[in-house]
């Protein structure tokens, strides 16, 4: 069963990858400006999801004994090089936000993960704190901003040491204020750096929106009719559909229970 499923996924994805180039060639033939927009838009949107799903998995959720390289190194070798070859082949330009992307490559998934760690009761899987060895490795791989992230992990480690042992310490170790989300990518407002979060507010046709980054704002402004109507968690809370109290939100609205919500898999690795 599992083999068949993997084979099916593989052939499906192979088809997708084969469709991409001919479709892009056709769009460029008829409207090169639109083709550039689509590439810029979807690279960014995929980047944010990929950074959370794959970046976190590669740098935090696999054991150190299984690590061969960092997520950033993987991106540089397998994604960026190939992306450049493709856009060169089609006569397209690098996305205008390239410097922002390169900066995010250093820190974005770290910002997301440490935030998600403190909101783990909203997740459906367990998470882990990086060990001292993990943190040394991450400092080596991500020297540009690691200190700003490490100070948060250090604070969390100290809190674990002071908390009760095992699972009883969990409630004290979770954030209780409602996190806010980008109205475009729907991920938490965790772009930029801890010293300079890049979230920005926009008033569009009398309604307030917030974006984690300039590229997310730019995508929204290109197609506001596509995104403006989405009711994110904050809007649901403000219109009274979801509770303002974080604990009630998790249990009554998300219907998560202590049995099903995410926990630290080891009850705080630093204990």
């Amino acid at each position: 069963m599992f083999e068949k499923m993997v084979t099916s996924i593989q052939t499906d994805e192979a088809r997708h990858s084969q469709i991409g180039h001919p479709v892009l060639a056709q769009v460029i033939k008829h409207d090169p400006e639109y083709a550039q927009y689509l590439v810029d838009k979807w690279f960014w949107r995929n980047w944010h999801l990929f950074s959370f799903m794959t970046g976190v998995s590669m740098d935090y959720l696999r054991g150190s004994e299984r690590r061969s390289g960092s997520f950033k190194e993987f991106m540089e070798e397998w994604i960026i090089d190939q992306f450049f070859r493709t856009i060169d082949e089609f006569g397209l330009k690098k996305p205008w936000y390239w410097e922002i992307f390169l900066n995010e490559l250093e820190i974005y998934h770290h910002m997301l993960y440490v935030s998600a760690y403190t909101y783990r009761a909203t997740l459906w899987f367990d998470v882990v704190m990086p060990t001292a060895d993990d943190r040394r490795w991450l400092r080596e791989k991500y020297p540009k901003y690691w200190e700003d992230i490490d100070i948060v992990w250090e604070r969390l480690a100290e809190r674990w040491k002071k908390s009760d042992s095992g699972g009883e310490g969990e409630p004290l170790m979770r954030a209780a204020a409602l996190p806010a989300f980008c109205n475009l990518c729907q991920l938490s407002l965790s772009a930029g750096t801890p010293r300079n979060n890049t979230a920005n507010v926009l008033t569009h046709e009398g309604t307030e929106y917030i974006f984690c980054s300039q590229p997310c704002r730019w995508i929204f402004l290109h197609e506001p009719e596509r995104y403006a109507g989405h009711r994110d968690l904050v809007k649901r809370v403000l219109c009274g559909e979801a509770p303002t109290d974080f604990a009630a939100l998790v249990t009554d609205y998300f219907k998560l229970t202590p049995d099903t919500w995410g926990k630290d898999a080891f009850g705080g690795i630093c204990k």
Binding site: S115, T118, D148, A175, A176, S188, P194, V201
Partner: protein, 87 residues
Amino acid sequence: MILPLYGFVEGDTVGVLILADKEESVESMARKLRDAVTLRVDASDDMEVVYQGVVLDPLITLEQALIAPLQRLDLRRKNGVPKDRKG
């Protein structure tokens, strides 16, 4: 009257939603914001609230500071941002 705001604390990794009251002081809102992020950040007392690039007087109310709903407020370490905003 409830005033929802997006709060960002220097050193933190995520923005949070703060439900303030228009009549409450900037100082009181800052306390709420500090408490909201205390798990991740040690937001010590020598911080100030910055709105649209200007430091707010901690004693005025959010209404006096002319803060609209769903705007961004920052709690930042004191660093010489001009202190000339009354409201």
